[in-house]
């Protein structure tokens, strides 16, 4: 697969662009125009309408929901330039990518790297078609940020493992078909005793209990494993290789949590436009409250820098052929700015921006409040800000621990 465009690339590009446009014209239902992916929300899956289902199947068929994944496993087999064309044309047409979730963001790329041929054949195509929902079995109640301290034990029973233990913060556990989990196969070594395995959520002994969050939503579960039989072929990589594989997966998670693109999408409308609706303006349309205006500008300036930093991280990584050292700051900076934005939104709306329920609040107001609360988790999960600081100080800055 070409990673650099050939001399006649532009012609190919145009041809491909036409192909995508024709595909959209033929398959994208007008009624879904400019609506987001209904399945992407943290609230869990809503019911698919026939139009949504048709669109998902059409995109899944082509593999364009996972455009750069290999064709032989159901991906699009596209190069990056082509993938960008798909994205651009979808955006132009007001269409969304109906394929998503943890399978796409984290598990798929990891399995493509570490999985056996059989595992890829079995698990990747349904992800590309958006048929199977995956959840993550990582955190445990007594481990917190110290992930390697996990206790869930998988006992070797010859042809299968017998898994016992408890996971928590299982995103969408109540709706998931399968779970990728890190479990302990050897109690004698903290890191090397960890293995990475795949568990069917309908195996007897798996029980999920949704956790109500301060936002009132229940996007996560506690997941209990009681004598759960997991076939040996569900082990990914070698026994004891789970920590390595698991960390690799977290890198995919971090990229997704902090990437400028997804953060920008999270952000929604510009604060200044919202402020103009809620607050007094001068004749020239500027905000009448100079203090609020100053605060918004202060936020938007730093947000501009953050978008530049995110882009720079990508450019540098590409140029260096490795991960840029500033990638380490993206999650920390992006999540903190996101929280700051949510707080500013409350300041802009006053008490109208603190609604919990009732017709006197618009949907967008109510969603902002839930988002403000849920957003407090962004500096905790996926490696808390404190963990990020440790990583930056030790790995990037070389400030070693006291021996």
């Amino acid at each position: 697969m070409a990673t650099q465009l050939e001399p006649d690339a532009r012609a190919d590009e145009n041809a491909f662009r036409t192909e995508v446009q024709e595909f959209i014209a033929a398959n994208f239902p007008e009624e879904l125009k400019n609506r987001g992916n209904a399945l992407a929300g943290v609230e869990g899956p809503s019911k698919e309408t026939p139009a949504q289902k048709a669109w998902r199947e059409a995109v899944g068929e082509r593999g364009w929901g996972t455009p750069t994944w290999p064709k032989q496993y159901g991906g699009g087999g596209l190069n990056k330039a082509e993938a960008r064309i798909v994205e651009q044309e979808f955006a132009k047409a007001g269409a969304y990518n109906p394929i998503g979730g943890m399978g796409v963001m984290m598990f798929g790329p990891t399995l493509l790297e570490y999985g056996s041929e059989e595992q890829k054949q079995e698990h990747i195509p349904p992800i590309c078609r958006g048929e199977i929902r995956w959840c993550q079995g990582y955190s445990e109640p007594n481990a917190g940020s110290d992930l390697a301290n996990l206790q869930t034990f998988a006992e070797d029973k010859g042809d299968h493992y017998l898994v016992n233990g408890q996971k928590t913060w299982t995103s969408g556990g109540q709706w998931a078909d399968k779970c990728f989990a890190i479990v302990r196969t050897d109690k004698s070594d903290k890191h090397k005793g960890i293995s990475f395995m795949l568990i069917d959520m309908d195996t007897p002994g798996v029980e999920v209990r949704p956790i109500t969050m301060i936002s009132g939503m229940s996007p996560f579960c506690e997941t209990f494993f009681t004598d759960v039989k997991v076939p040996k072929e569900n082990l990914v990589g070698e026994e004891g290789q789970g920590w390595t594989i698991g960390k690799r997966l977290l890198q995919h998670e971090r990229t997704n949590l902090s990437g400028g693109g997804s953060m920008a999408r999270m952000m929604g409308a510009s604060l200044s436009n919202i402020a103009k609706k809620y607050c007094e303006t001068n004749e020239d349309g500027s905000l009448a409250d100079p203090i609020l205006r100053d605060k918004i500008a202060n936020f938007e300036i730093r947000w501009s820098s953050f978008l530049l930093t995110a882009r720079r991280a990508v450019d540098e990584s590409k140029a260096q052929g490795g991960v840029s050292e500033i990638s380490s700051v993206l999650k920390k900076v992006g999540t903190t700015l996101g929280q700051e934005r949510a707080e500013l939104l409350i300041e802009i709306r006053g008490l109208q921006g603190l609604g919990w329920e009732g017709d006197e609040f618009s949907d967008s107001e109510l969603e902002s409040v839930r988002g403000w609360l849920f957003g407090k988790a962004t500096t905790i999960y996926g490696g808390s800000t404190e963990i990020q600081n440790n990583i930056i100080a030790k790995r990037v800055l070389g400030m070693l621990d006291h021996q």
Binding site: I214, K376, I380
Partner: protein
């Protein structure tokens, strides 16, 4: 904290014990589960009034104990620690309006009822989602009030409203011409918009030109006292949690980065307490009330904002769950921060009072 006299220490200890034993956060969970717009336990409020807490600032001749605002603040702080939902602050603010501006008759009619808990009252000033006592449209003509008030605290269940109209403060009894629309905020407490449509209104003629601001200053300081209790509770809970929770085979409290963060918050909390107690003492002494009240609420806003956020962050995932209490403080915090003056409103006021 401020040096207290014996009466005050007794009052504080009583409130502390009661809040801890009879009104822990679990009690608010019950109220919340009930889903009533009034969002407080009327029996609990009756008990509080029996203990004399509704009459702390009310003169003895009207059935109160006349212990003053510092004493009222002590009780409110303790109740704030456990997020006790009650109309105590609202009623105390309303009582202060009657004390400052009411005629002898008005005082005789209402203060004993407020002190005994027989009646509940609240102050209604703002007409939009932001505190702005300079833009009031509500008016009274021929003893009838017309206008709208927004996000009134403890409105459901109130017998009496102290209402700001263009030309001053009025007493309006709940009844004909008064209609409430529930506004359920993130703290899930008792808030409502009120429409006055020809409701009978009786003016508070005393108190001079500054009556409204004087009453608002009392609202600011008493609200700041609740916020102080909340900040203290979050700080204490967080400190306990850090001392217990083990990560990477180490108690969290032993991580220096967290130690220094807690030291910062401890200093901020000290500043907040000084400011809030300074506000309460200023009201009792009658000197520099406006400035002290502005400082009190501004510092309460600043520090509770910080501590309520850090409380969540330092608890990690568990703090994000509804099962754990710390999120309740965060939600209540923002509602109180937005009431009776946001930080930038208060800074503007401080500058105005200092003539710059």
């Amino acid at each position: 904290m401020a040096v207290l006299n014996e009466e005050q220490e007794m009052l504080r200890d009583m409130a502390r014990d009661w809040a801890k034993n009879e009104s822990p956060v679990a009690e608010f969970r019950k109220v919340r589960a009930g889903g009533e717009p009034q969002a407080y336990n009327a029996d609990a409020y009756a008990t509080m009034a029996q203990m004399g807490w509704a009459g702390v600032i009310i003169p003895e001749e009207h059935g109160g104990s006349d212990f003053g605002f510092m004493s009222a603040g002590l009780v409110i702080e303790e109740l704030g620690k456990t997020l006790t939902a009650s109309p105590l602050i609202a009623t105390t603010i309303a009582a202060s309006a009657i004390i400052l501006g009411g005629s002898d008759e008005q005082k005789a009619k209402w203060l004993p009822k407020l002190a005994s808990g027989e009646a509940v009252a609240t102050l209604a000033v703002d007409e939009s989602a932001r505190h702005d006592p300079s833009s009031i449209e509500t008016s009274v003509s021929g003893g009838k009030m017309t206008g709208k008030k927004a996000f009134v605290h403890e409105a459901h269940g109130a017998d009496l409203f102290v209402v700001a109209a263009k030309d001053g403060l009025y007493l309006v009894e709940n009844g004909d011409g008064v209609s409430l629309t529930t506004r359920k905020l993130t703290d899930q407490r008792n808030h409502a918009d009120i429409a006055f449509d020809g409701a009978a209104a009786e003016k508070l003629e005393g108190g001079g030109d500054s009556l409204l601001e004087d009453v608002l200053d009392r609202a600011r300081v008493l609200t700041a006292a609740e916020m102080l209790g909340m900040a203290q509770a979050v700080f204490d809970t967080t400190l306990d949690y850090l001392k217990q929770r083990v990560q990477f085979s180490q108690v969290l409290a032993t991580f220096q980065a967290l130690q220094h963060r807690m030291a910062d918050l401890f200093a901020d909390l000290a500043q907040m307490r000084s400011a809030v107690e300074g506000g309460l003492q200023a009201i009792d002494s009658g000197f520099g009330v406006a400035q002290a009240a502005t400082v009190a609420k501004a510092e309460a806003n600043r520090v509770l904002h910080l501590i309520s956020n850090q409380g969540i962050q330092l608890h990690g995932g568990i703090g994000m769950t509804d099962e754990y209490d710390v999120g309740f403080y965060l939600k209540r915090a923002r509602v109180l921060e937005s009431s009776w003056g946001s930080s930038s409103y208060l800074r503007d006021r401080f500058a105005r009072l200092s003539k710059y």
